[in-house]
Symmetry: C2
Subunit: 475 residues, 2 copies
């Protein structure tokens, strides 16, 4: 139905279908979603789309605001304000930060523009009607993007540190850099304080570089609180909705996804995703990781046990077919699981097929096909019925978020040993913010931001991280 | 139906089903066979079974004949005569020679006994009712088997050479070795002459070592001619019938076959087998082999072409699912084909899944699981609808023969170059005899044995080899 096709109204109708087949076809591959977007979110998305149409690249307003930037004048009130997102880090990280930036743009009535980096345009469709979200290549500050880092003099944090700015400053520059990557410092983190937000509000161009899903901390900023609770009555669905709204695989990637799905997954009665991300040095497979995967999946009955004593088990009733989709940089875990179900029958008589789309051996952030495959694999994982993910991995967060799944999380192994228990089910499908601030903006002291409100909690996979949960979710 | 279950009467009813599930289940996996065994073959199989029951291991007759062997007496007329087959060479070779030996046993009213070697008992069920086909481990000559080679003094060929035997010899030993491996010499090859067969007929114990499918040359022995044409009115179905009669995968192997089939092949609309055997030194994959595989399969429309210019092709009508089963010692060819169909759509919109059960990297003739997998893979190839095989490989011959398939044969590459044409369809499903004799037993001169009768021809993959074809088959 049209309702399904537009993901319960999340998507605007009227896009050209051919140029982005995934946009209106994704509902054919996803289960009927459990999580419906609020009507307020829908209306805010529609008004964002209007804003983007009015202020997007090469519109009159854009040109005017750009003039101000070029002339080097100080900030003055403009019709449109912008948030420029810089491509940074692995693809999972980029997807999460882009969703965070988009939410921040909605909350602050900014227009989101995306630095396409090497391959954003190759990976994703345009999410907004009529006007592109890609930053024009002739954008004047573009040359400075690669000099922009933690130490950059023009970052908001460093300008505060050097007393070039403070919250009572009258004249503000027409642009500011926000450095929100994992190694940002205390001044950079003041971004998450209301008084700083008041200042930032007056700057027409904000440029943001981050590798973190900072949404949980937006929920702790008082001035955003009410709006956020109207937008997301279900807290754990923030990325689920924003991700499905923003990230439509390009036709190239959609080809990878749909061909793989049809060839290997479509005929199964149940689909199981296992995302294996090992942050160890050294190329896998490692026995302790393998042990952990089996300990988790067998104990939690994600996968059926095998019978090593009998060559064949006759099934009772219909033979259930399970397809296990494994993603990993190496192929060893896949081979191990596949051989196990080839060499031995399951105790239940179920039939288990095991699949791994690619084994790229190492992370190659700059190769086109490599990132297409990485994106296709995250998406394919999101189409499974039961998901197992690895601690700390944004790759897994994207899959769980898009799929609306609460995965079994493989705890991070320490000292090359499989942890016990091997895994647990997550309390929410939200990604974890890995480097949140621990600061009380009013009291100007440190504080544990994971205990302030019931819906912002510490993550299961990273004790200092923060994630959104719903009230009824138990840690 | 029962008719199907017994493969048109090829199999005897009444075996215990549990101990060998494949025997009566194989018909569930094979298409209705095109090739029916003759009723004469069926009656000869039943009378062979009676003979085996009467003369098999530890029967009175067996014990008596064994006495004669132990006492070292010369040959005298015995109730039962035996053909002992020695395990030798790769598994494909073993299967072909065992079928050859069985046919020779039928033609000469001998009882076939199988030296189990390292793993024959692990790989195959007993083919004959009640009495085992395995040579008892206490068989008196067993210790000599591993000393038995081309130079062995007690081989028939060497005894002729050394004038210990000739066709007019009156007293014969109670046993003789027949050395019929690829490097056998002119005297050994006299095995294929009628006057020598007359002598051999009087020896109670024949022990045979071979790595060749010597059936085609049996068809050139005048005294066997009539019987063979009654047994096999369809000449190209000799191995097809004998193979399906003799070789029932053990439950361990049947588990491998059925699990793989159900997990990966059962749901496809069409199954395609590609057997890649590279006899080059050096571990693959080689570009010229890859080129040849694609040249053959695409040109002969075994596999659909891909469209490299478009990311997605919408299918016309129902989406056909093809499963491609690749077997090879290395994984490179598989990865290449699989990625091709992942990265690009087919021009027809068909969906192609590509599978490889194992990649063992090198031949390991002595490992149990290794040979189980090799046997499972030959069998799985035989369950495909369209088959592509590699020149010179007995592994491929077994698959085509059991499956009743005329495969596309990949010609042997020379000088590391893909041949042109890359392949051709075989004129018959029969295996090729790689080292046939070229001798006219009457005229005692050399002769081209591939031109004597219409049904024994040179092979497509080996110009000096011989194979059976039917009259209407065209070279
Ligand atoms: N194709 C593929 N690439 C992977 C996989 N795991 C990691 N990568 C690559 O490594 C990058 C990891 O960065 P990111 O996506 O940010 O995930 P994270 O490092 O796990 O948080 C991915 O973008 C891929 O390029 C995998 O399972 N499959
Ligand atoms: N599993 C597996 N083993 C193979 C394959 N190709 C060769 N082998 C191994 O190598 C041996 C080759 O010997 P054989 O079966 O006589 O076939 P041939 O050498 O091709 O005539 C097999 O028995 C296997 O042990 C393959 O595709 N799969």
């Amino acid at each position: 139905t049209l309702q399904d096709k537009l993901l319960d109204g999340l998507l605007a109708p009227g896009f050209d279908e051919e140029s982005c087949l995934s946009r209106y076809q994704s509902s054919l591959y996803r289960k009927n979603p459990l999580h419906k977007p609020s009507s307020y979110l829908l209306s805010r998305l529609r008004s964002y789309e209007d804003l983007h149409k009015r202020c997007g690249p090469y519109t009159k307003s854009y040109n005017r605001t750009l003039e101000q930037l070029k002339s080097g004048h100080n900030a003055s009130s403009t019709e449109c304000k912008y948030l420029v997102w810089i491509s940074f880090s692995g693809l999972g990280n980029r997807i999460l930060t882009l969703a965070s930036a988009f939410l921040y743009a909605i909350l602050t009535n900014r227009v989101l523009l995306v630095d396409p980096g090497k391959d954003m345009a190759d990976l994703f469709c345009e999410p907004f009607p009529e006007k592109s979200w890609l930053l024009p290549t002739d954008f004047s500050l573009k040359d400075q993007f690669n000099t922009f880092d933690q130490k950059s003099h023009y970052s908001y944090g460093n300008m505060l540190k050097n007393n070039i700015l403070n919250s009572s400053t009258e004249t503000l520059p027409s642009h500011l850099y926000l450095y929100l990557a994992h190694d940002y410092d205390d001044q950079d983190k003041l971004f998450f304080c209301d008084q700083d937000q008041a200042l930032l509000r007056r700057v027409p161009w904000l440029v943001m570089k981050t590798d973190n899903y900072f949404v949980p901390s937006l929920f702790l900023i008082p001035s955003f609180e009410q709006e956020l609770s109207k937008l997301f009555p279900q807290k754990e669905a923030v990325f689920h909705h924003l991700g499905r709204y923003l990230f439509h695989p390009s036709n190239h990637v959609w080809g990878l996804i749909t061909r793989y799905y049809q060839a290997y997954l479509a005929n199964a009665d149940e689909r199981i995703g296992i995302q294996i991300r090992v942050f160890d040095t050294g190329s896998g497979p490692s026995q302790y990781v393998m042990d952990q995967i089996l300990a988790c999946t067998l104990k939690e009955k994600v996968l059926p046990e095998v019978d090593r004593s009998r060559p064949i088990v006759s099934p009772l009733g219909k033979r259930n077919l399970k397809a296990v989709l494994i993603t990993s940089l190496s192929s060893g875990y896949f081979e191990n699981v596949r051989n196990m179900y080839w060499e031995h029958p399951t105790v239940t008589g179920e039939v288990v097929g095991v699949y791994q789309p690619s084994h790229e051996e190492f992370q190659q952030t700059q190769k086109h096909l490599h990132n297409r495959k990485a994106w296709a694999e995250m998406y394919l994982l999101s189409l499974t019925d039961v998901l197992v993910t690895s601690a700390w991995s944004t790759f897994g967060y994207v899959a769980q978020g898009l799929g609306g799944l609460k995965p079994w999380l493989l705890y991070k192994p320490e000292n090359q040993t499989a942890p016990d228990p091997a895994c647990r089910q997550l309390m929410s499908m939200e990604p974890c913010f890995h480097a949140p601030p621990f600061y009380d903006c009013k009291a100007k002291t440190g504080i544990d931001t994971g205990t302030l409100v019931p819906h912002v909690r510490h993550c299961e996979d990273m004790s200092w991280g923060l994630k959104l949960v719903d009230g009824h979710n138990e840690l």
